[in-house]
């Protein structure tokens, strides 16, 4: 029999529905429903008319307006990292600004712990920005005329905290992000990576419930980018904030995200866990995207196992189905027995070397080899 991946187990597919089902019921930290943003004349009048069905280009020709975000809905669990991935022009930066109303959405709801941010008064919105969420920017947005410590304390100053208190808090955060001893320097004396650490500290200083990251590492060198990604993972483990992270880098999305949403032309084409995006792309666009991702780094044994056949030797090594393929490779290399895949102690499938090799070689699950 040729190497063939079985269809994903029912509890892993189709990604978007599972996700919505898992977090539905008002417990999500952020819930976005039917969000639209159209730039241009008569933005409010387009939604709900046949015009809204037109493609971006057609709409621009017809009305002169530009759809940046098109009917986007998703839920973010408390404490998770939710990544929105898309190429430039996909609307992801507009989307994240609509969530905090730095850009006013044209239509739709954004619920933060059940409160509709869209209906908040300007004063309430400021209050939310001062206490509940904060943002990290691609180009840092630091104040060049202030020392690092006063940049970190800026959010606290904005909400009127006394100088002593905010300085102490800022110093704490500087050491949290690894910038001890840099407090009295000016931003342009720091490297790009260090500047973004300042941006990170500033966002953390207000102790927000939700943090927004707008392509925070795109302007950095690859090595520093990797450092900063690890930094975010470390901080996430330490402070456990809900994070919404925008990126155009698929590897970054898969590395950081508990869930990943792929955007294209303003709309979300797929939401899922990283292995769902890689293992079961919703369409050709996503499939095209993920085709170069090393599958063995993302997919679990559950994605490549075959059904148990009578006569399979059962004395081989045993792994849970959620094991990343890569971690099973060296064990598989040392035995000629097929690997047993278990789920809650129950045998659910077998993995032969041929499946592992196929995954390493980059065959896509579900496609016949």
């Amino acid at each position: 029999m040729t190497a063939q991946f079985p269809a994903p187990a029912p509890d892993l597919a189709p990604a978007a529905q599972t996700h919505a089902a898992a977090v539905g019921g008002g417990k999500s930290a952020i819930s976005v429903k039917g969000l639209w943003k159209i730039f241009g004349p008569g933005e409010k009048k387009i939604i709900g008319t046949p015009l809204a069905e037109l493609s971006r280009d057609e709409l621009r020709v017809a009305t002169g307006s530009n759809v940046a975000v098109r009917d986007v809905s998703f839920d973010v669990n408390p404490g998770e990292v939710f990544v929105v991935m898309g190429l430039s022009g996909s609307g992801k930066s507009t989307l994240i600004r609509c969530l905090t109303r730095l850009i006013e959405p044209t239509a739709g709801e954004v619920l933060l712990d059940g409160e509709d941010i869209g209906k908040a008064s300007m004063a309430r919105l400021r209050d939310l920005r001062r206490h509940r969420f904060s943002m990290v920017f691609q180009h840092f947005g630091l104040l060049p005329h202030r020392r690092v410590i006063d940049n970190v304390a800026f959010g606290l100053e904005i909400r009127g905290e006394a100088k002593k208190g905010r300085r102490d808090r800022a110093a704490e955060l500087l050491s949290l992000v690894g910038l001890d001893g840099q407090a009295d320097r000016y931003p342009d004396q720091l490297s790009g990576g260090m500047q973004q650490r300042v941006g990170l500290a500033r966002a953390l200083a207000v102790d927000p419930a939700v943090m927004f990251f707008d392509e925070p590492f795109s302007a950095l060198d690859p090595l520093i980018r990797r450092d900063m990604q690890n930094e975010v993972i470390r901080l996430h483990n330490e402070v456990g904030k809900t994070m919404i992270f925008i990126t155009h880098d698929l590897a970054e999305a898969l590395k950081l995200g508990d869930h990943v949403a792929i955007m294209r032309n303003g709309a979300i084409v797929q939401i899922g866990r990283p292995e769902e995006i890689v293992g079961a792309p919703a369409d050709d666009y996503v499939a095209d995207f993920v085709q170069d991702v090393p599958k063995s780094y993302v997919l679990t044994l559950g994605w490549i196992m075959r059904e148990v056949r009578p006569g399979d030797p059962l004395d081989g090594p045993e792994f849970p189905r959620s094991t990343i393929i890569r971690t099973a490779v060296h064990v598989a290399a040392e035995t000629d027995r097929p690997i047993k895949v278990v789920d809650g102690g129950k045998l659910v499938g077998m993995v032969d070397r041929v499946q592992i090799l196929a995954a390493i070689a980059g065959f896509e699950p579900g496609s016949a080899a």
Binding site: L128, G141, L142, R159
Partner: protein, 640 residues
Amino acid sequence: MTAIGATAGATGIRVTRRTLAGVLALAAVVIFALLHGQWTLPHNDDYDLFRTLNGVRDWVDQNRTLLEPIRLAIAGLVSLFDDILASLGWPGVIAAAAATGVAFGSVRLGLLAGFGFGSLGALGLWDPSMATLAMVLAAVLLALLIGIPLGVLAGRSARVQAVLSPVLDFMQIMPAMAYLTPITLLFLIGVAPASVATLIFAIPAAIRITALGIREVSTTTVEAARSLGATDNQVLRKVLLPLSRRALGLAVNQTIMLALSMVVITSLIGAPGLGRNLQRELSKVNVGGAFDAGIAIVILAIMLDRLTAAVAEWLDPRERAARTRPGGRLVTVALPVAIIVVGLAAPALVDATKFPDTLLFSFRDPVNAAVGWFTGTFQPATLAFKDAATIIVLNPLETVLVQAPVWLVGAALMTVAWFTSGRRAAVVVGACAALIVGLGLWEHSMQTMANVVLGTLLTLAIGLVIGILSARNDRFRAFLRPFLDMAQTLPAFVYLIPALALFNPTRFTAIVAAVIYALPPVIRLVDVGIRSVPPAVVEASTASGATEAQLLWKVQLPMSRQALLLAANQGIVMVLSMVVIGALVGAGALGYDVITGFAQGKDFGKGLAAGLAIVLLGILLDRITQGAGGTRREGAANAG
């Protein structure tokens, strides 16, 4: 195939355009040959409109109740500054200048400021210098009080910007001479109208630079502040204003420099100060005496420039932090305090109201001697050059413009504008020409225009050569830089002095002064234009075997076309504003009409009309040279 077709098509259009231009030019020549001397408008001093305008003045004179409080308030402000400077006395003022230099700059700057202000007294010009300074301070205070808030508004709102921009454009192309007369109509003569004129002249820079500074603040930074919940007010106070501090400092600096250069011109409407000394000596053709007043103006300009620039730089905390100064607080705080204390204590020992005679020094005799030697030696050459330019270019040009039928000149100007700047510009040019006819100043306007055309051609020819050299040679550019910097801090008025020394009082003298005045920005623009050609293009041309000359003619000059157009535009506007001031050294026409308007009550109406004609001429020349560039003025603000 399509590419070849398109090229052929483009050439075809260019040929027809060129042919059309040739045919029209030929037609103009033929019409001129047939009809010159007819449909002309010779000058008439008793034109009805002039008398009507005299009537307007008489009416305003009898209804001053509304204007009088404004005039008195402004005059009061100036005399307040007068009193402050007088109460400090000369030791106090010198000490204040030196202390400012030490505190915000360096000990060197402090010494420079002390000596600079001291030399104003040593030249025997302490009192007029202080009168000038008081007017500058008053006008700058008013300009900043109005200009900075407007600039902040314009920087934050595109709509305010859109409304203000054309108004500021207009204020900046308007030659200073043009609005002196209307201002005397409203505020009589003396320090009050002088301050208002200075305010009008200096405020566009304050507004523009402030707005630019506000707009240059990174949008991410503003967004970051907003995302942290900052109110509009907090964004303004904590982000926009602090981040545009450098721009604000520059705005203050530029406003002061422009104010100084205008204040000395306002001696024409009775303002006291250095300008009055300069004007008096110029009218006596006493180059040495004018030189003393001129050098005092230059010193005052340099001192104010350096001191405000130092303060502006000090405002940037990064700059302050990066600076390590020997002596620390002892030098930055204690020394300035000590200097001021000494300055204020000095009246106990010396007479602070009058600068000591023993220190007096004058350049008058040595300069007059030098000028005497120079003119004695070179005057044959300079006069020959002057005569050649006058006979070969200026006279024929003037004759053609004055003798040709009015409608022919108007049609020719409109056609040129249509070729260079499009249909709308042609309409504006036509309207301006018609209004000049209506003002009854056609002949004088054409004479002024002839001067401007010659001045601009000279400016562009010299500016292009120097600019190209500067763009192609870094060492030459470095050599040139201090001269250009210096030239841009000098008030326009002083350029009359060397021109007068070289050419005696004639029309041509004013043209030379205008050329000197307009050259520095033209050189800068040419240099910047050529240097901003992308290096990749230059490299590609060199790689395909272009010679230096080919590179210049086929790549660098065509690609810097926009900058060259801008240089022509700037040049023509600056030449006009100087040519009319040149009436003081022998240029007649519109500038002279304005000056006689101040001097003689019965000529007031003509002076007022001449001011308007200068504005119209300015708009007309600006439109003709505007080209297609929409962002030209912003570019000029940056380059200058």
